[in-house]
Subunit: 180 residues, 2 copies
DNA sequence: CATGTTTGTAAGTGTGCACTCACAAACAAT
DNA sequence: ATTGTTTGTGAGTGCACACTTACAAACATG
């Protein structure tokens, strides 16, 4: 035995997040995940219950990583006001998604929410993040809503590549967004 | 000849927006679009240069419809202040995407921006809408940015089905969003 | 070392789908 | 009528990919 199945699952899930992030659920063959993880396709199917199970599990680690980063960011807040804590969380999130994998995976997951299991995984992820943001920052509903609205704006900016567009309308949309 | 090719193209594109909106680019076979439009798959391939050409053209009509709706909404604004005009535009947009097709198509398009032609179509669409919003409303960069941030929040609300979630975090995210 | 369990794979199988081609019918022009 | 053009389809073709099975090697336990 080279490795335990549980350890394999972890490495496969991490690579799955990266690989699915590029082309999405339907356009990513399981072979691609297996190759990136350095194991055979057949073994991926033994470790997970089909492609869907793999994707749902990857969504879990994606939102876990986001929640952890936001939690750590909140600890580094300078003051105690809700807005200061939200800003610290936003900064931590911006840093986290600099590599784009986690952001793109969220976009891909939201695009395949016609599959009920994935819709539920997305809801579970946002439930976890949103409840934490609200309780930890002590922010109002409106502040939390704004926090996520501008988070979603980042998805547009990155997927459409608006940082690369020098035109005024694109500059307006990207203004003040932390180095995406 | 039953119909002209150009008329066929129009009807095919309208059904294509609806059909692609459900399952996205990769999960939607051209057969599904052809069947929904009531013609053969082979003829769809003659009318458009492949599945990608069809999708890009559908993106064009999607953003056309959005731009038209926002333009019409601006006409119905009560006052002349940027915020009043933006609100009127937002209301018109909310009405337009009540059927979800246009909203879901945007989400699907953003998910396949790794295909350059689609990325360019998305940029072109937002370029048209954003420049119009800014010039017509006379709004500041920050106002335009906020307009689109909350628009993107609608994408999350609809794809994750948050209107159906009674929990507080979901109510916070959906608060004040016009009947999605 | 014999037997059982877990890790791992090579080689299929069946299906769905993008795209093509040969061909037909409706219409137009002379 | 004849010829040409446009609209339309049925019947393929070839390939990619989700998932399975049979089998092998590493390790554990008595």
């Amino acid at each position: 035995m080279r490795s335990t199945a549980e350890a394999r699952r972890v490495t496969v899930l991490n690579t799955a997040v990266s690989v699915f992030a590029r082309a999405g659920f339907h356009a990513t063959p399981v072979t691609a995940v297996a190759a990136a993880a350095g194991i055979s396709e057949a073994y991926v199917f033994r470790l997970f219950s089909g492609k869907l199970g793999l994707f749902v599990a990857a969504a879990g680690v994606c939102f876990d990583r986001i929640a952890d980063a936001i939690e750590a960011g909140a600890e580094r807040a300078e003051g105690d006001s809700p807005q200061e804590i939200l800003d610290a969380m936003g900064g931590a999130y911006a840093e986290l998604i600099a590599d784009r994998d986690l952001l793109l995976f969220q976009v891909q997951a939201q695009a395949v929410t016609d599959i009920p299991e994935i819709a539920e995984a997305v809801r579970a992820g946002y439930r976890r993040v949103a409840t934490f943001v609200q309780s930890r920052a002590g922010a109002s509903d409106a502040q939390v809503q704004q926090f996520f609205a501008y988070g979603q704006l980042c998805h547009l900016i990155v997927t459409a590549g608006l940082e690369q567009v020098p035109e005024p309308w694109a500059r307006a949309l990207t203004a003040g967004i932390r180095h995406p």
